[in-house]
Subunit: 322 residues, 2 copies
């Protein structure tokens, strides 16, 4: 009886192993990932990593979901400007609000990160954390991407969902370490990626505790980008990761910090946007998600560089249902 | 065969249930805890809380371990002053360092939180995070409490260790939310309390990322005390807890914030230091761990107030071994 049970369990786990990373074509990236995971989870290997130190960090924009034409939080901020306009008639004549109201995307993008931060501070504050959560949830359920015309959460990367799942099945703890707003991500990302809110790290605005509530205040608190990523990891996780996944030079410091882990074998992976048909193709000269320094350094250091066009069978989950 | 297995499993889990909270005397506090956990984990109860929202937050000093004569991190800072003195001859004539070197505890304590912060900034910075971890680990392994003459980690509360374990066995995620230094706690608290470093929240100094390392900088970054506790919870956890455990007015805001959870039944528990023989007795008029406002409010609001003297069979783990 026990032997039959054991055989059944063995068969089940074997069939599950075969089902890992199904949207990844066989190739260098897939085999790098699998050899790494096999090595560090093998108790008899010198590369073995105890479960408590299996920390994997993922960028979000461009790594777990698309980021084009601009970061999706930008669209949220713009929709918030339109919703709040009746209370702010002065926005009609002040940038960057004027450009948003007039739908002048060129002008909006010209404002860059400074303009985005200004839009975010004006539209993401003045309410409690719980009220803001409800606004984000309402938006993410109803808003649609300007060119793909599907909900933004449809534009997560199927192969990366499988990778998250595969790592967790091997007792990795998965974290998001994004330049995006921590409170913009948490209300939906937890469910979409299967990551608890306390493992989602991002840029923050100030908050204060008042009358039993957390109130959102229009001051930038932390920018979780570039060198801010290892800093965010330090505060939130408290140890060096062993695996890091990104797509741009904004993720470079986080990946370098992970590579610097002296105790354990590490894995660094860049999602390289090479597919101008199914997604977008961009790297060295892009405004959004520029990958230049990291691409050279990564190649020299044997980081895994995923060629989206050739290594991913599908990009988005909805392609599976076709 | 299966029925025998099932019966065995049932027996095992029953015997485990009976072994919960063994260092707690039967009484109001123990029964409050057990009824709460039974209610919120019962899928058929209207009080049921999904696993993902079972967030329990614990203060550290005075709640999970002792905090007398002064917070234990104070002794660490003082030992660091002595170790670093050769590089800082000027400390011999500057307060609060002079008082530390002369062993003038009265003068040291007179410096209050400001003095402590000054000691911490001067002694906890100027090295990488990993170098600091090693210093803390070395100290916690060798230093001894001035009056109890045992390692500080021997002075954790056995009944609270059992409570942490009991909550985790019921799928609660346990967090430390302490006014103490996040980086002072993480190197040892993770193992001692069974809490991953990323679930340990505390006050922070500034850090910067430089040459592949996190470098500790002598600037206070966040004070995770009083109103700072719900703010820390907001950033690190991203949702209201359902259960909060503290011992002083410094924990009040965190407990009030937890009580304000509108979605779920909540539990608030104060450890009341009433045992001047086995531990220390103090509350309303204490410099360290003052419990005044919270004691009145807690009684009015049916919070659980643990009478350490009468409700705890043992205080420290080493009493079990006698």
């Amino acid at each position: 009886m026990f032997r039959i049970l054991l055989s059944l369990i063995l068969l089940l786990s074997l069939s599950q192993a075969q089902e890992n990373l199904v949207s990844w074509n066989d190739g260098k990236s897939k085999s790098n990932i699998i050899s790494y995971v096999n090595a560090v989870t093998d108790v008899n290997s010198s590369d073995f990593i105890p479960v408590v130190d299996r920390i994997a960090v993922f960028d979000n924009d461009g790594t777990l979901w698309s980021e084009r034409p601009v970061y999706f939080q930008f669209y949220f901020a713009m929709d918030r400007v339109k919703a709040l306009l009746p209370q702010h008639p002065e926005w009609k004549s002040t940038q960057p609000f004027k450009a948003v109201i007039e739908g002048n995307m060129k002008e909006v993008i010209k404002g860059g990160k400074k303009g985005l931060l200004e839009l975010i501070m004006a539209t993401h504050t003045g309410m409690s954390d719980e009220e803001f959560d409800a606004i984000v949830i309402d938006w993410i359920k109803t808003a649609k991407h300007p060119t793909k015309n599907v909900p933004y959460t449809d534009l997560v990367f199927q192969p990366m969902l499988e990778l998250l799942e595969y790592l967790r099945a091997n007792d990795f703890k998965t974290f998001i370490v994004s330049g995006g707003g921590i409170d913009f991500m948490r209300p939906w990302a937890s469910e979409v990626y299967g990551i608890p809110t306390n493992q989602i790290i991002g840029s923050t605005l100030s908050v204060k505790y008042e009358n039993g509530k957390i109130i959102r205040v229009p001051n930038s608190n932390t920018i979780n980008d570039k060198e801010g990523k290892p800093v965010g990891i330090h505060y939130h996780i408290g140890k060096r990761p062993v695996a890091a996944f990104g797509n741009s030079d904004g993720d470079f410091a986080m990946m370098e910090y992970t590579e610097g882990n002296k105790k354990y074998k590490t894995l660094q992976l860049y999602v390289h946007h090479t597919d101008d048909k199914r997604e977008w193709a961009y790297d060295r000269k892009s405004h959004i998600g520029k990958l230049d320094k990291g691409l050279d350094y990564g190649k020299e250091h044997n980081w895994t560089i995923v060629d989206m066009k050739n290594e991913w069978k599908v990009i988005y989950p909805f392609e599976l249902k076709k």
